[in-house]
Symmetry: C2
Subunit: 316 residues, 2 copies
């Protein structure tokens, strides 16, 4: 049965772009992926599978469809699923978005098409409009994905305004990964009151975002440090919120000093005693020995540990 967006609760809280584990032959390690998703939901983290930190743009649409289907078969709830579906090619974005919406996912996170640079807001508007019109499903909920330092194609305030006016049901919110707090602040002020949910692109600004009325965060380090991030989301109005934020920032800082996707995978490989977890798909590469040593030393100094890490070890 199709339930329109107006009668379904909107996703809120802490989401993570789920790391994609690979086998030595560079194919996705499906069992590790399912285990990791189960572990994250167990920690209260929603699943933004196929984000930047998922190496999603190194996966084909077919591989992404298969991974999503596997999660559904494994009984992962669609209420906390927000797959990334934006690709360079309009037809790829339509195909994956349609698949995610038909599966009942709570929302989709959508990059703008990112190969051509210096494109106009008119062109980006047409891209999103073409996807919405083609998917033509009242359950579609798009979270725009603003990460200009990587995609090189950003989402302007004017574009949001125009999209919200044309598609108030389908345009549900944004992930702001610009790292520019003044940008997040403007979105919170201009659009959050209209029910356009602003998610911080990292937990570094989770507290500020919640104080500004935002919906939560979608953050890479949710993959490795989910508990404390969720705890801040749950206790942000309490007196120790600033102290919690500072502790999160310290752990995040360790990962941010290094190539972050490789560092998170290395941390999981270390905590799980499963070296295959450290594999990345080209063009990304794993940490070298010196970087690994730095990572574990710094994480130990933070008192970092992943609860029940053994449950993440693969491959079976």
């Amino acid at each position: 049965m199709t339930i329109a967006n107006s009668s379904r609760p909107k996703p809120r809280g802490v989401f993570s772009p789920v790391l994609t584990p690979f086998n030595p032959d560079l194919s996705p390690s499906v069992p590790r992926f399912v285990k990791h998703c189960r572990w994250l939901t167990g920690q209260g983290v929603g699943l933004s599978i196929f984000g930047t930190n998922s190496e999603a743009n190194s996966l084909s649409v077919g591989e992404k469809r298969t991974l999503l289907d596997t999660l559904l078969e494994a009984g992962i709830s669609t209420d906390r699923l927000m797959p990334g579906t934006g690709a360079c090619a309009l037809t790829d974005t339509i195909e994956l978005t349609r698949h995610a919406v038909a599966a009942g996912c709570a929302g989709v996170l959508m990059l703008p098409p990112f190969y051509y640079k210096g494109v106009s807001d008119e062109g980006l508007f047409r891209s999103f409009a073409s996807v919405i019109d083609a998917v033509a499903d009242p359950r579609l909920r798009i979270y725009l994905y603003h990460i200009p330092q990587v995609s090189q194609v950003g989402i302007s305030m004017g574009l949001i305004e125009r999209l919200l006016k044309a598609y108030p049901e389908a345009i549900a919110g944004i992930k702001d990964s610009s790292g520019d707090w003044s940008n997040t602040e403007t979105m919170l002020r201009e659009f959050q009151p209209q029910g356009f949910d602003v998610f911080a692109g990292s937990e570094a600004i989770l507290l500020s975002t919640l104080r500004g009325g935002g919906a939560g965060c979608i953050t890479a380090t949710g993959n490795v440090n989910p508990g404390p991030i969720v705890a801040l989301y749950e206790h942000w109005q309490e007196s120790d919120a600033d102290a919690r934020q500072q502790a999160l920032n310290a752990t995040r800082g360790v990962f941010q000093k290094l190539p972050m996707i490789a560092a998170m995978k290395a941390a999981i490989a270390w905590q799980t005693n499963d070296p295959a977890w450290a594999t990345l798909r080209p063009p990304l590469v794993e940490l070298d020995a010196t970087q690994c040593q730095q990572l574990t030393t710094d994480l130990q100094a933070c008192g970092f540990s992943m609860p029940d890490a053994a449950s993440l070890a693969g491959p079976a």
Copy 2:
């Protein structure tokens, strides 16, 4: 029968990233595409289908496979086919490259994976190596595609050197679209003598490239001004070569003043009296009325006309 690269002549001369015509519903217009390819080969231009100017990164792998198959069914010779096959996702690049090589294409033009920025040469080496190892076909001939101002991920001299050493048969050459003549010059000096064929990324440096020992050019404006570009390639050692180069530059300048893909499509729509030719797939947009007016005025001032343009009109 599989014929190894060493016994097949390498592609040389003028190639064009073939414009992809679209129907009003944004699906590729297959009849217009086939007609355009026939017209280009009739003018002596080779077919780099699926380049930047083909809006190839707005097409799915499935759409590209179908378009390539259609050309083969239409009897277009594979000797002059050099499809672009590089995508963000390793598995997409492998799939399309394998398909092109199995079809017998003379070569493939390969972008590096371009979503992740600031990636290492080690990561790019592994990307190309993974494709070569997965395709595992002695007919594979890769032309690296260096267009850093768009892809934001370039091909360094060190990477070329390492790839040539590891895969001397598969690494066949490069298209240098950097617009930086000193870069092209370095490649001509360092690598062309080893049989690594340097193609200029535009006819603006065709004469210099040929004088430097290069193999030709792969140029957008080959779509609209093929005859004079091919004539320079054929007569570059004659006394009027510089004059020919200047005339080419004048025509190119008209297109370069405007968003170039839209301008070339508008020129074809005008010359063929087939307005549908002006359609672009989002995020790109067509010229506005003022830009169209400027284009036709400027092209008329250059004496521009496309021979036998009526043969390009669609849709049937």
